[in-house]
């Protein structure tokens, strides 16, 4: 039995046979049934809330690739969210509403920015890396503030969602939700394939001992840079989705506390686990929403909760379930 499981573990995509399949299945079932609940209970806000959760989870998954597996603590990940969003907003403003153009531009622009940031930042280590990624995010934030044509500080309201020439209609909220969910699962699958490949093992090796990896002959800088670019591109896609969902972009998307939120989601769920970021995002945003309904001062509870997680929950929520599993 054990041998059979081990065999399956090797063959199947990793996430199907993680030790805490139950937790993952529950979260996925919850996410899949949201539109049904929203329709039955007549609660369209649930759909809006969960669309945002799914999109933010996509961003968290991308951050987890570099932070969890690659050990690159990027404190400026919200910048890619913003670049993706602004790509959609700016193109719309210039009369180009097609998603076939907007989305590739969003992904490409984020990837390009990640390439530049990564090439410069990956020379530094530790806290310096955290800070230099933050600095680049702040630069984009101020650029967006200076874009008077696109709303400047006040942001830009986007008139309509990306059009896909009859292929999919994003104005259908349920359809849009499922599209986001599919993209989220696809990105989790992509990350699972990446981290279990030779490439993924190389960046994980570089996380634990970079000097040794280089001595064995891996050009770790290039490996890390490529994963940094992939993460940026994925997060840019999340930004494009977010702009479509809210029909609004503003520099606030990229403020440093937003990057902090993304880090919180990843660490809360479980750093370096495939579904950890999804679990973390669902928990964090649902908790925030629930608390804000009960009390006006939700931060008084969330803040200390994060501190307790930092002190006591090594490995995040996912890690707790993993330990509980046999």
């Amino acid at each position: 039995m054990k041998a059979a499981l081990a065999f399956l573990h090797k063959q199947a995509p990793g996430f199907l046979f993680e030790p805490n399949t139950g937790l993952i299945a529950a979260v996925l079932a919850l996410l899949a049934l949201v539109p049904l609940y929203a329709a039955v209970a007549g609660d369209p806000f649930a759909l809006t809330l969960f669309t945002r959760i799914v999109i933010m989870a996509l961003a968290a998954v991308s951050l987890n690739l570099i932070m969890g597996y690659g050990g690159m603590v990027s404190f400026g990940h919200a910048a890619y969210l913003g670049i993706g969003g602004y790509a959609v907003g700016i193109l719309w403003k210039e009369g180009l509403g097609s998603g076939f153009l907007q989305w590739p531009v969003a992904i490409g622009a984020s990837a390009l920015f990640a390439l530049v940031v990564g090439a410069l930042s990956l020379r530094t280590r530790g806290v310096y890396f955290i800070m230099i990624t933050l600095a680049f995010a702040q630069m984009v934030y101020y650029v967006a503030q200076g874009l008077d044509r696109y709303g400047g500080d006040d942001g830009l309201t986007i008139g309509n969602r990306s059009t896909f020439h009859g292929l999919v209609n994003l104005n259908d909220n349920t359809l849009f939700y499922y599209l986001c969910l599919v993209l989220l699962l696809a990105s989790v699958y992509l990350v699972s394939r990446l981290v279990n490949s030779r490439f993924g093992l190389a960046i994980q090796g570089a996380r634990s001992n970079e000097r040794r990896m280089r001595a064995v002959g891996f050009p770790t800088f290039r490996y890390k840079l490529v994963s940094f670019v992939i993460a940026g591109a994925l997060c840019g896609l999340a930004g494009a989705l977010l702009a479509n969902q809210t029909n609004f972009i503003s520099p606030a998307l990229m403020f440093w506390t937003r990057s902090g939120d993304l880090m919180v989601m990843v660490i809360l769920g479980g750093l370096g686990s495939l579904f950890g970021p999804v679990i973390g995002t669902v928990t964090y945003l649902l908790l925030e929403e629930a608390l804000s309904r009960v009390t006006e001062y939700s931060g008084l509870i969330i803040g200390p909760a994060l501190l307790l997680v930092a002190i006591y929950l090594r490995g995040g929520i996912e890690g707790v379930f993993r330990k509980a599993a046999p």
């Binding site: 603590v73 600095a135 101020y142 006040d154 902090g260």
Partner: protein, 349 residues
């Protein structure tokens, strides 16, 4: 009404109040010097002097914050994002105590004590378990503390913010060189902060406590083995950092508004300072604070007219604010690319 950080994830949609907190710090730049003086070039020169003084003043305030941050990082190896919250707390305490006692100086002194005590209590309750843990845990835990303090301040003092008014004798301007008048209060900030920097230097380099602090930074196990109460030392250092942050908050409060989220922007600037200076180096923090203060202020004052001279008006209008806000981040990125450990790496501390 939501605090800048408090509700950030649940409202991607814009809210008036959110925007207000997210705006970069305004730098008041009275163009008095431009009107004074005789010829055009001398007017520009006087404006330059005034703006440089403003830059030095901002740098001094940044140094107060950065010194605490870098001490805490150098000695406890702790990334403390909640440092900006102590800055905010100091400003709120000062506004409250000054209103209660009717004296600015007394209010400021009480605020320093109150914040130092709060900081030490915070260290004992919340920070201690984080020592020796990965930096990521520090980021998560202290990020939580920011949320907590923003909401706590909103609960205690309300969402509206406060003002701290100066004593009337501070509201004048003095003539520093013929033709240049400079607000007295800003001069006081510069001088008082320089005095604090000197005191800090003496404390760290020439007292027994400072010796322990330096020893703790280079080898904490050995210091502990020699019978020094490391826990107490850490608490004292954290309290010192909190007092320095509060001092910055108190000094800045009359110039800017006392409001929730005021710590977030300045925290990032202070982080930039310690990264440029080399984390753990107080000397580096001082030099970097001056550089950052000057570049930021002079950039805001002179980049727009310079760009106007080179580019068309619309292009300059778009580019200038963004470029001047970005200047210090570009500086930091450039310095880190060339010197990945900052200007004064901690080894040469």
């Amino acid at each position: 009404m939501r605090a800048g950080v408090g509700g950030s994830t649940s409202d991607i949609l814009p809210q008036q109040t959110d925007e207000q907190f997210l705006r970069p710090i305004p730098y008041p730049s009275p163009p008095r010097a431009l009107r004074a003086g005789g010829g055009k070039s001398s007017a520009v020169m006087l404006y330059f002097i005034e703006q440089s003084l403003n830059g030095v003043q901002l740098g001094m305030l940044l140094f107060l914050l950065a010194a605490g941050l870098t001490l805490i990082f150098g000695i406890m190896d702790l990334v403390n994002l909640a440092h900006g919250s102590l800055y905010m707390l100091g400003a709120y305490f000062a506004a409250t105590f000054a209103a209660a006692t009717g004296s600015f100086v007394l209010g400021a002194a009480l605020a320093l004590i109150a914040t130092a005590v709060s900081g030490m209590a915070l260290e004992v309750i919340a920070i201690r378990p984080l020592y020796g843990r990965p930096h990521l845990d520090h980021v998560l835990g202290t990020f939580g503390l920011i949320l907590f303090f923003n909401e706590l301040v909103r609960l205690v003092w309300g969402p509206a913010g406060m003002t701290l008014s100066l004593p009337s004798e501070m509201l004048t301007a003095v003539q520093i060189i013929p033709g240049v008048y400079y607000p007295l209060y800003r001069l006081v900030i510069i001088l008082v902060t320089l005095a604090v920097a000197a005191l800090l230097y003496i404390l760290v380099m020439h007292t027994r406590l400072g010796m322990l602090i330096r020893a703790g930074a280079s080898n904490r196990e050995m210091v502990g083995a020699l019978g020094v109460n490391i826990k107490l030392l850490y608490t004292l250092v954290f309290g010192l950092g909190a007092a320095l942050a509060a001092f910055a908050g108190v000094m800045q409060a009359p110039i800017l508004a006392v409001q929730i989220g005021m710590g977030e922007n300045i925290l990032i600037l202070a982080l930039v300072v310690i990264v440029i200076g080399g984390i753990g180096s107080i000397r580096g923090a001082f030099v970097a604070a001056l550089i950052v203060g000057l570049i930021d202020t002079l950039g805001r004052a002179f980049l727009p007219p310079l760009l106007h001279a080179v580019l068309s008006t619309t292009a300059a209008l778009t580019l200038a604010p963004a470029l001047s806000s970005m200047s210090i981040y570009m500086l930091m990125a450039a310095i880190l690319v060339v010197r990945p450990e900052g200007l004064f790496p901690a080894a040469s501390r």
